[in-house]
Structure formats: structure tokens, C-alpha cells
């Protein structure tokens, strides 16, 4: 009886340690082994970027001039109902994990969009688009801020370390506009202490395509 008791206790421990149902496993997943609808992991983002950047068609469209990575976004392609039904049977749904990698090419105001299958590590689609449809990246926002803060004329007007910059997109609506088909941002200056805007600031526009800062532009957006 004592042996049976010990055996059952060990069996109990074994099941407790190794026999937990799948629902608990799912909860315990670490981020680096994502489930189908988890956000992209940092590793997946890096991988998607590398795979897209190495693709011949992406390279061809981006050319040799200046280009920038704009975003890596998760794309979940919906499985059919039959595939989804296995969720309730205790099996993970089979949702392919894709990433959409968007680049911007300054020369020619062009966007390039590559869809990467993260499992096969292949680019499955490459398309180009009008650069005006490519969103501004946070890296470009930071770049615009650097250009402004290093601008000599503005440095004379801006008390150092008092203002931070915020941006708005400038999309020109006609060919006579200096920002026509260029990557432009309007700059707002915000007092870091009072959080208010610098009311008397000049109208400042950064042209990221030409890396120039201009003052006195009237319209900050279309």
C-alpha cells in the first residue's frame, strides 16, 4: 500500500509538471515564440527588414539613392472558417505571419511595399506607390528636428534647450509649391517647461528630400 501511495504521488507530480492542457501553455508563451495573432516580435521585425532589403525587386525600385525604412507592420491574413474551427478543438489556428515592410525613396518620391512571409522567409509581393501615400516615420521626425536645431538662423532665435519640436505633414497641392513631390514637414516649437507653443515662432518647413530648412512658409498642410 505504501508503494502504491508513493507511485500515485509520483504520477501525480508527473502529470502536474508535464500534462497541463494547452490553454495554460498558450498563456505562458514568451514573446519570441509568438502565437498567430501576437504582435510582431523585435526579432521578426529585424528579419522582415533584412529579407525585404535583400530582395532584388525591392532593390531595383529603391535604386541607389537615399532611401529610408518607414515601417514594419504585422499583416494577419485571415484563414477560412474551417481552419478557424480548430481553435475550439484545442489546436492553434493556422494564421500565416506576414510583415509588410514599407520603404521610401526620396529621389522620385516613391514608396515601396514588400510583403514578407516570416515562416518561409521570402518576399511574396512587392508593389510601388506614390510617395505622398507613404506615412512619415518617427526617424524622419527626429531627422527634421535635428536639421532645425542645427539651423544657424533658428539657433539665434531659439533659446537653447527650451523648446522641443513637433511636426505636421506638408503635402503640396500644386506644382508651384516648393514641397511638390518632396518629403516636407512643418515644424512646431513647444516650450518644454510650460508645454505651450512658441507663439511668435517663424513658420518653419523642413524639406527632407533636399535636407533644407526654410522659414516663412505660410501653409503647413494641404
Amino acid at each position: 500500500m505504501v508503494k502504491l501511495h508513493r507511485f500515485s504521488f509520483l504520477l501525480f507530480l508527473f502529470f502536474i509538471l508535464f500534462g497541463l492542457p494547452q490553454q495554460y501553455d498558450a498563456q505562458a508563451q514568451v514573446v519570441e515564440t509568438p502565437l498567430p495573432l501576437d504582435p510582431l516580435t523585435s526579432q521578426e521585425r529585424l528579419s522582415a527588414r533584412a529579407i525585404a532589403s535583400a530582395n532584388a525587386e525591392v532593390k531595383r525600385l529603391l535604386g541607389l539613392g537615399e532611401r529610408k525604412l518607414i515601417d514594419v507592420e504585422f499583416l494577419s491574413v485571415k484563414p477560412n472558417d474551417e481552419a478557424l474551427m480548430i481553435e475550439d478543438a484545442g489546436q492553434p489556428i493556422l494564421v500565416p505571419r506576414y510583415a509588410v515592410v514599407v520603404f521610401y525613396r526620396y529621389d522620385g518620391n516613391l514608396g515601396v511595399r514588400a510583403t514578407v512571409d516570416l515562416k518561409s522567409k521570402k518576399v511574396i509581393e512587392v508593389t510601388s506607390m506614390d510617395g505622398d501615400l507613404v506615412p512619415i516615420s518617427m526617424e524622419e521626425v527626429a531627422q527634421a528636428s535635428t536639421l532645425v536645431l542645427n539651423h544657424k538662423e533658428l539657433q539665434q532665435q531659439l533659446p537653447p534647450n527650451k523648446y522641443k519640436t513637433e511636426v505636421v505633414r506638408v503635402l503640396a497641392s500644386n506644382q508651384n509649391d516648393p514641397c511638390w513631390k518632396r518629403r516636407c514637414l512643418g515644424i512646431l516649437f513647444r516650450d518644454m517647461k510650460t508645454r505651450s507653443y512658441w507663439f511668435n515662432s517663424p513658420e518653419v518647413t523642413v524639406d527632407l528630400t533636399g535636407k533644407t530648412v526654410s522659414m516663412g512658409r505660410k501653409e503647413r498642410s494641404r
Binding site: M1, L4, H5, S8, F9, L11, F12, F14, F15, I16, G19, P21, Q22, Q23, A26, Q27, A28, V30, P34, L35, P36, L37, D38, P39, I70, D71, E73, L75, S76, V77, K78, N80, D81, L84, I86, E87, D88, A89, G90, Q91, P92, I93, L133, P135, I136, S137, M138, V168, R169, L171, L188, D191, T194, S196, W198, F199, S201, E219, S221, R222
Partner: protein, 372 residues
């Protein structure tokens, strides 16, 4: 039975329970992106939601799958595959500027602090991109004299840092199966436009998979009054199109599944109903309609492109559909928004203004929900 025998039996039974092959739901997302919420939040379950969420740059809080169970013994019914903001369009009354705050930017999220989401109100979920999860008392859900029931709701919200504005993207899942989507705007008035009124028109993209992705159809619900009689009708929308909201007709979108019926044999649906204070019509074509229905296609994510998404106009009958809804918060500038100080600087903050919609189950329950 002696104690040893009893313990042995208990061990065996526990071990068998834990290790037996169970047909448990395999969550499609991991913690903290997976949420299950039973109602009432304590005691025996009556209803339950399960869902996944994701906080993304640009879109803010996205709901990636949401299922509802009307009783512990009922099957789960999927409502959303993906629910997100598709645009926040901000045209100023002077004609310019006109901001597309989703399509043209990759705005980051605002980190949620204990001030946003104190422990007394809820719980922060996620790290880096994070959100606030609250389970709220929602007031009286029904009453019959002294017989009263207070309701509860699960509320998830995150914040987009859109330059001078913060946008709160909020999703609410109620104990009676009702869903609310809200978009709130707060922050500093755009510099140089402190006196200029403007709109914050939010368009939601709702990939509704009612009881699964296939077999969904959309009907336009309409109310009319003729003489002393009122009449409620609905007509099916067969092809991709936009529809205007008529306040006198209580226009609503009703989404039906081909097969889902309640125990009374009535066809179940979810009704998308506006919660609005007015209707913003601008020069931009996508603002000419308040509702749109499209066939679900990968990559169709921006509201501004809706007029092109419906050309050619594909069939949307008994298929995988997406419904879109636009609601506007009209910001008439007021002294409460702030003031110019002695140096001419603007100080102050715009109080939160909301635009919203609700989705209500119709003939999903067999009787009054949460009723004794």
C-alpha cells in the same frame, strides 16, 4: 476507506483530470494580448468575452478577434476578426490645414502611466505599447420597479501621440453582448489656429466575422413614420457601397450570418448604430457617406480610399464583409480650450471630445439577458 486510500484516490483523480485530453480553446494570442472576461466579474458566470488586442503605431489599439458567449453552456460566437481605426480626419474650417492623422503618419503610442490607469480603476497591460484594462460598473442595465440589475463592461483603451493631440482609442465589451467603439481627442489646439473650429472625424473599420467569416450579409435598417403608424424595415445591400445616415430614419447597418439563429428560431444579427452629434460633409469623397460596406480584402485599411475600394462594386451578400462607420467630433473652439498668456503663448488643454458608435446584438439571446 482509510486516509491513505482516500489520498491515493484523490491523487489519481486529480492527475487524470489534469492530464486528460480536453478540447480546450487554443488562444490565438498570448498573454497579455489575450483577455477573457466573464460577467458578472465575480461569482457564477452568465456571459463571457474572449479577445485579442494589439497596440500598433499609427492605428492605436486594434482588437484582433472578439468572441462572445451568451451563457456558460452556449457556443462561442465570433463577432470581430479585426476592429480598428481607419482614419482620423481633421479639416479646419478655414479650408486648411486638413490632416489625415492615420494615413499620413506613424504616430507612436503614449506610455500609459499610473495616472492614466490607477490600480483603483484598472490594470495596465503590455510593456512598451501598453493599454489600460478596466472592468466598470455601467449603471442600471435594466429595472422593473424594485427588481434591478446593474451592468458591467470590459473597457480597453490606449493613446496615440498625434503631435499636439492625444487620441484615446477605446473599445468596450458589455455583459449583454453590446460593443462600443469610441475615439476621444484631447491635447493642445494646433498652434496658430487657436481660434479655428475643426472636425475630428473618426472612421472605424470593422471586419465583422459574425459566427465566422463566411456567410455574412448587411442590411440597411430604416424607420419611417406615416400618419400615426411607424414602420421598421430593412433592405439587403448586395454590392459594395457607401450609405448616408438619415437621423429621421434611424439608419443602421444590421449584420446577419447565414445560419445563426437563437433558440426561438429567429435569425441573429448585430446592429451597428451611430452615437453622434451631427454629420460632417467635406469636399473629400470618403466623407460623403457615414456607412460603407466592402468585401474583406487584404490591405484595404484606409478610409480615405473607400471610394476606390468600392470600384468595381463587388458582391457583399453571404460573404466575408467589412463595415465602416464615420462619426465626427465637432470642435468649436472655446475659452475652456486655453488662453494666451502675457507673453502670447498658448496655455491650456482641450477637454476630451468623443465620437462613437455602438453594436448591439439582436435576437442573439433567447430571452432578456442577465435576467433572473
Amino acid at each position: 476507506m482509510n486516509i491513505r486510500k482516500g489520498l491515493t484516490l484523490l491523487f489519481f483523480m486529480t492527475a487524470l483530470f489534469v492530464a486528460s485530453p480536453q478540447t480546450v480553446f487554443a488562444a490565438p494570442c498570448s498573454s497579455p494580448y489575450y483577455i477573457e472576461q466573464q460577467f458578472p466579474s465575480t461569482g457564477a458566470e452568465q456571459t463571457r468575452w474572449r479577445l485579442c488586442w494589439r497596440m500598433e503605431k499609427k492605428y492605436g489599439l486594434i482588437i484582433t478577434s472578439a468572441d462572445f458567449r451568451k451563457s456558460p453552456t452556449s457556443p462561442w460566437v465570433r463577432v470581430f476578426w479585426d476592429a480598428r481605426i481607419a482614419e482620423i480626419f481633421v479639416p479646419y474650417h478655414t479650408g486648411t490645414p486638413r490632416f489625415y492623422d492615420i494615413m499620413n503618419y506613424n504616430w507612436p503610442w503614449v506610455p500609459i502611466t499610473n495616472t492614466h490607469c490607477p490600480a483603483s480603476a484598472g490594470k495596465r497591460l503590455g510593456s512598451g505599447p501598453d493599454i489600460c484594462k478596466e472592468v466598470r460598473d455601467r449603471g442600471v442595465s435594466w429595472a422593473d420597479d424594485a427588481l434591478v440589475r446593474r451592468g458591467q463592461e470590459l473597457v480597453l483603451w490606449g493613446v496615440i501621440d498625434a503631435s499636439n493631440y492625444n487620441y484615446i482609442i477605446e473599445w468596450t465589451f458589455r455583459d449583454d453582448g453590446t460593443i462600443l467603439g469610441r475615439s476621444g481627442a484631447t491635447g493642445l489646439i494646433f498652434a496658430g489656429h487657436e481660434e479655428t473650429g475643426h472636425m475630428h472625424t473618426t472612421t472605424w473599420r470593422l471586419d465583422v466575422d459574425f459566427n465566422g467569416s463566411s456567410g455574412d450579409s448587411v442590411y440597411l435598417g430604416t424607420h419611417t413614420e406615416i400618419g400615426l403608424t411607424g414602420n421598421d424595415t430593412q433592405s439587403q445591400i448586395f454590392n459594395e457601397t457607401g450609405v448616408t445616415w438619415d437621423p429621421e430614419k434611424f439608419s443602421e447597418f444590421n449584420v446577419y450570418d447565414a445560419t445563426l439563429k437563437n433558440a426561438r428560431g429567429h435569425q441573429s444579427s448585430y446592429r451597428l448604430m451611430p452615437l453622434r452629434w451631427g454629420t460632417a460633409r467635406h469636399d473629400e469623397a470618403f466623407t460623403k457617406n457615414d456607412f460603407w460596406v466592402t468585401r474583406q480584402k487584404v490591405g484595404e485599411l484606409y478610409a480615405a480610399n473607400l471610394p476606390s475600394y468600392v470600384l468595381p462594386s463587388d458582391p457583399v451578400s453571404g460573404t466575408d464583409i467589412v463595415i465602416w462607420y464615420s462619426g465626427s467630433a465637432h470642435h468649436r473652439v472655446r475659452d475652456e480650450d486655453g488662453i494666451h498668456d502675457a507673453a502670447g503663448n498658448w496655455t491650456g488643454v482641450t477637454q476630451m471630445i468623443w465620437s462613437a458608435f455602438t453594436m448591439m446584438p439582436h435576437n442573439l439571446f433567447d430571452k432578456s439577458p442577465l435576467f433572473p
